[in-house]
Assembly symmetry: C2
Homo-oligomer: 223 residues x 2
Amino acid sequence: MRLSELSTASGVPIATIKFYLREGLLEPGTPVTARQSSYDDGHLRRLRLVRAMQQIGGMSIDQVRNVLFAAGESTLSRHERLGVAQYMLPPLVEAPTDDPLWDEVHGEVLALMTGLGWLINDFSPSLNALTRSIVALRRLGYRDGIEHVRRYAAAVHPLAEGEYRFIDGHRDLDEAIEATVAYTVLYEPILLAIRRLAHEDVSARLHHRRPISPLDGVDLPPA
Amino acid sequence: MRLSELSTASGVPIATIKFYLREGLLEPGTPVTARQSSYDDGHLRRLRLVRAMQQIGGMSIDQVRNVLFAAGESTLSRHERLGVAQYMLPPLVEAPTDDPLWDEVHGEVLALMTGLGWLINDFSPSLNALTRSIVALRRLGYRDGIEHVRRYAAAVHPLAEGEYRFIDGHRDLDEAIEATVAYTVLYEPILLAIRRLAHEDVSARLHHRRPISPLDGVDLPPA
């Protein structure tokens, strides 16, 4: 298809597609004439993936580029390339604090991983996100962090296993990397939305046996 | 304690605390002299909560204010105030698209909720986040969205129920609202971190029976 058709099919403006091409986020099309190239379904998919990373994953262009470049690093094994793609995603929580509880909680998080028998690098960025959040919970007086994380681990691991096997089932490495990114970025808001909805359901069930009423009556402060 | 002691105990600079006081995010202290007020543990907790909403939840001051004000709306029932606090949290995904698949997928999401028997409002913001993400998955060619969401729902609901009962167990409504916000904002990165770690474990297990190797060998593009 031509550039204009790629734009129509993807809903992405031509100027944005040209920008992605210049930035190397999208492979060049096949030259047809000196001034025209042809694009295929692979381009359309990649375009949709970049848009999803930006619009749903909330990633910057630099973050998108880092993930795609790292995943394309051909000196790495398949496992490493999939892992690097995940490590390069934006961190779930910003940098560590200098809270004196940090070392203690980080040690508990590492011990939890060991206890679960999970094969995790000490420098995996998600360990920091976990530590940071548990430190904050503890500072607010909630003591149950690690025990509750263990329950989440038990609930989520079987699902993650199915997902990873699906990702890894793509024989083509590029497709597998695309699936890694798509499954991480797109299922994260899904998982959180389901949890918020479950809270809403439990609250309605315990209190009223009906959904929460409309917010019309709420006076919100000016935004 | 004095303002300076509140600052030391919380790690929040005095100027920031004064800003929160002006903005009404923190209740005024008890006047001791004309120029000095006294603060208690309630102030310290609230301060930590506001910081956690900003630093871990990534919320703006306006978003923090909206959640705290809405939750303090005394004309609402307890269930409604807890619900409003959750609805006012930043949406998980930005606004709907004009994708023609939207209506179809939104209908499937509503049908899923009905099928699960969950008591959810049609206008719950999380339904949009769910729809948006599934539309994007479908555009990338992944067909299994709704079925997989059902598996997440089954895994997460029992945990959410325990969490909600803990939140609701606080007799003091302010404490219950604090717990709603803390549990939503702080456990969300925890849940995602656990899922990313589970993927890392499954990948290591399937491919190497060891964790992914260090990233030293990876040439990253300039940031």
